[in-house]
Amino acid sequence: MLEGRDPDAPPEAAPPREARQLLVFRVEASLYALPAGLVDHVSQLGPIVPVPTAPAHFAGVIHERGRVLAVVDLAQIFGAAEARAPRGYRRLVVLELQGRSLAILAHEVPGLREIDGDQIRPSSGGDAIAAGELDDARGVVTLLDPDELLHALRSGPEARRAS
């Protein structure tokens, strides 16, 4: 069997980004943020192909810029999705997490936001994926912990670690 190309091959080198910049995006009614340094790019949503036997929090795979990316439905991780099929998404937030490329489905991406550390307060939900919260003109933004997010993707929502 042929091995095929490595879908996790690193993209072209990106310029260094500010450590305290966050990318804010909306999934369903919830706002989330990730360190901007982890975000490779944001793009329009293309056709997603479901993968047999993949856990429900993976909507499938997408072919973009010569790479194949796993597509994550955060609503499934946070239990906000009523149906298995993702609905109404318009954007992809493409990340590099510990050498793994993946894309998160988003309904909207308001954009980058500069913050000071003291603007982040502890998360009220006690969820390990949530590294903290901050206020935004649109509402409360949940800052995601990249390591915990990757752990949840590998292990499934039910195996999420409580903080």
Partner: protein
């Protein structure tokens, strides 16, 4: 200019997704015959009297793949022969075609999906401008031999 390396394959297309199987795994494929269908109450998987192999166990590939088959399309049977075992037939109502996939269009499954427990028979993705069927919509690259072994272990 050197010819691009290609892999002969069988494509199975449904309305919402497509799959690719290496042709090297498939002993033969043919339109489902009346004797393949089995008795009406046999359920999705059945045993038929195959003219070449005698008793041929038939499995519903569309159900295993989670694909929505077109009810009006005639079924096709893909036969594989697992090492040391009897031949096995996979029945599908997808559009079955022969194709050639350039090696550069074959991608392994992204590692995060492998780490999340995707089955080994879901080998990867075929995508790119010269992939069979072309376009940006990937097809899922599966191994029917690996699937047969998985089913045998799970039985």
């Amino acid at each position: 200019m050197p010819r691009e390396a290609e892999v002969e394959c069988v494509t199975i297309d449904h309305a919402d997704r497509g799959f690719v199987v290496p042709l090297s795994e498939v002993v033969r494929f043919h339109a489902e015959r009346p004797e393949d269908a089995g008795p009406e109450d046999a359920g999705p998987d059945a045993v038929s009297e195959d003219s070449v192999d005698g008793a041929l166990e038939l499995l519903d590939l569309d159900r295993l793949l989670g694909a929505e088959p077109a009810a009006t399309r005639a079924a096709c049977v893909l036969v594989v022969r697992p090492e040391g075992g009897p031949p096995l037939g996979f029945r599908t109502r997808g559009d079955v075609q022969l194709g050639r996939a350039p090696e550069r269009t074959l991608f392994r499954l992204p590692s995060v999906l492998r780490e999340a427990g995707c089955s080994g028979w879901v080998h990867g993705v075929v995508a790119g401008d010269r992939a069979p069927g072309a376009g940006d919509v990937p097809r899922i690259w599966i191994s029917l031999l690996h699937l047969a072994r998985s089913l045998e272990r799970g039985a």
